[in-house]
Amino acid sequence: MSNATLIDVKREMSSSEFDALFRAHHRLIYRTAYGITGSSEDAEDILQSIFLQLIGRKFPPDLKKNPRAYLYRAAVNASLNSIRAKRRNVQMADADQLPSSASLPEIEPHQTTRKRLLHAISNLNAKAVEVLMLRYVHDYSDAEIAKMLGTTRGTIAVMLFRSRARLKRLMRAKGVEP
């Protein structure tokens, strides 16, 4: 990233505006990323990378129009990408180096459920994850989710229903009876 590019961006947004944008939305992004990845380190990286990318390029029109929705979608996509990238890396690793299930420490049932839930969430499409996180991490009502995502309350109710059903099927496939 060249200095020229970085400075060019400053024409679009001053430092104080950038800080204001960060302060207004960092909780939303961090909580979303943590809700999807379950890792504070990953969530912190995602928060940083999203704003770093904003420094590195001109601001998209969608960001100006509805910064909260734009950054929220960015958080969901970045979180899903992060999990999927990690999964690919694990699959590529030498299977002999992975611990066998027999050597894994005993895990509380609720931890197992959380892991399987997160795994199932990572297999949903981004739209489904968006509505689920707004409901279950941010405690939004159907109406608030609809307003945030620019759609109707009825659509959100259907999306939530289908997303939960899909999630249930995915968890069942992984051996959890929701």
């Binding site: 400053k10 024409r11 961090y30 689920l132 991490v137 249930k168």
Partner: protein, 482 residues
């Protein structure tokens, strides 16, 4: 909503990871700091912000600014900020070096000014927090003033916070003098004082969490034996304690007094902390213990401790204190209590609330008990029969008040439940609640979750947030061998 949907709803409510505002803010501070300091453009901005209207300059002469920035970066920010300091600064630059070599870390949003005094430098902190790493003062002093406190130092690290109602000073290293009107107090590392009350006490490490150097400050403080502000009473301890890694795989679910001993099989660290740090009569869940290490929920321990004397006559609070001593000694535990905003459930009425019992006469206090046993036992008004099976809990009772009902459902919820019903009547209950049974096969007849069961009697649990007492683990290790 169908039962399957209710269950997945409950799993999501219970298991989706959440963080508090404080945690998110602490991370936000770190990330914003890194964003400001990790790119060349940020350095440009930081160096020019106090004097140059950067937006205009950068718009017209980007190449020139970049070049000048490069030079200034090489020369170093210290040179820039060593300009005569009689001028007043009020800005948000996170770290600044003063003309005497002292270093300020400024929490974002803080309002402060600097001026020269006859005998040194004086920082006026109007609002917010700063951490001062004071250089050794040769001929003068460095003062920090808030609305109600004055701090004078010779060479040390300390934090000052100016709030709406009071100011506080926290010492990390060295010694500072703090004055409030005619009163003056000396603070040593690990001590803090506020303007009201003006009494020394142990530092609360949480206040440093916004600093990018928080880990090193906390490490410094953890190595410093802080002088306690008040007389320390000798701690109650067990006569003999045995803690062994659990190898049997048996989990008895908690600690219990057996004879003159406190025993537990397969107890996790969280379970021990939960037992030891319950705050009085308030509800306290395992989820209110924060910053647990990964092994804290996985490793299991068998605990056998001799209480001494007539154990049955020892108050529960004294036994808890003994467990706290055991954790501090054997697990090297350092922890503190705080208040945090956490998810809760608010119990609210729907459709006017539960149907009132025919008899609204309050039952005598002695009749308000919970009976654990067979289902054919006749119970008086006010009493509740509770029946547990591997996959369900059942509650049956007549003329129950909302407080009794709250105590029943609290044990079935993974969050603190707050009564928001304002319901004063008596009502009858006959409900079953399914358990998160895991691998057990589901019963033939569907049993509602707690959410569904409450709706049957026109009550509802709504997700919300509230400030709750928490225990924050600062550091802990696996137990030392017996």
């Amino acid at each position: 909503m169908k039962d399957g949907q209710e269950n997945i709803n409950e799993i999501l409510n219970r298991h989706v990871p959440r963080v508090s505002d404080e945690q998110a803010d602490a991370v936000g501070e770190r990330v914003l700091y890194r964003l400001h300091h990790s790119t060349p453009s940020a350095q440009v901005e930081r160096l020019f912000e106090p004097t140059v209207p950067q937006r205009t300059v950068i718009r017209w002469w980007p190449a020139l600014i970049a070049a000048v920035a490069g030079i200034l970066v090489l020369v170093g920010a210290r040179v820039f900020f060593r300009t005569p300091s009689s001028a007043v600064w009020v800005d948000n630059t996170p770290v600044q070096t003063l003309s005497d070599g002292s270093r300020l870390e400024i929490r974002s949003g803080s309002k402060w000014q600097l001026e020269t005094a006859s005998d040194g430098l004086r920082i006026h902190l109007n609002h917010g927090s700063i951490i001062v790493t004071a250089a050794r003062q040769r001929n003068g002093h460095l003062y920090v003033r808030t609305r109600d406190l004055t701090v004078s130092v010779v060479g040390t690290i300390f934090m000052v916070h100016a709030g709406e109602l009071r100011s506080t000073v926290h010492v990390i290293e060295g010694k500072v003098q703090v004055r409030r009107s005619e009163d003056e107090v000396s603070l040593l590392p690990g001590e803090e004082v506020s303007s009201s009350p003006f009494v020394k006490k142990r530092i609360n490490l949480e206040v440093l969490s916004w600093s990018r150097n928080a880990p090193s400050y906390i490490a410094m403080l953890s190595q410093t034996p802080s002088a306690p502000a008040t007389e320390v009473k000798p701690k109650r301890t067990f006569e003999v304690t045995s803690i062994r890694p659990n190898t049997s795989g048996i989990n008895s679910g908690g600690l219990r007094v057996v004879g003159d001993r406190l025993q537990g099989t397969g107890a996790s660290l969280r379970r021990l902390l939960w037992y030891a740090y319950q705050p009085g009569d308030a509800q306290f869940l395992g989820t209110q213990i924060l910053n647990m290490p990964g092994w804290g929920d996985v490793d299991r321990f068998d605990v056998d401790a001799k209480i001494g004397g007539e154990a049955t006559s020892v108050p529960q609070e004294q036994i808890r204190e003994m467990v706290r001593s055991m954790l501090e000694e054997r697990f090297r535990l350092k922890a503190h209590r705080a208040i945090r905003e956490l998810p809760v459930y608010n119990l609210v009425l729907i459709k006017g609330g539960p149907k009132l019992s025919a008899d609204q006469t309050p039952p005598p206090e002695k009749q308000r008990y919970t009976y654990f046993g067979t289902e054919d036992q006749m119970l008086p008004r006010g009493a509740v029969r509770m029946f547990e099976s591997p996959y369900r809990s059942a509650f049956v009772g007549q003329s129950i008040d909302i407080a009794t009902f709250m105590s029943l459902i609290q044990g079935r919820a993974d969050r603190i439940v707050l009564d928001k019903t304002n319901f004063t009547g008596l009502f009858d209950i006959d409900i079953q609640i399914s358990k998160d049974a895991g691998p057990l096969p589901p019963p033939d007849t569907p049993i509602p979750t707690i959410f569904g069961a409450l709706q049957e009697i026109n009550l509802k649990l709504e997700a919300g947030k509230a400030n709750l007492p928490v225990l924050i683990v600062d550091s802990v290790q696996r137990p030392t061998p017996n």
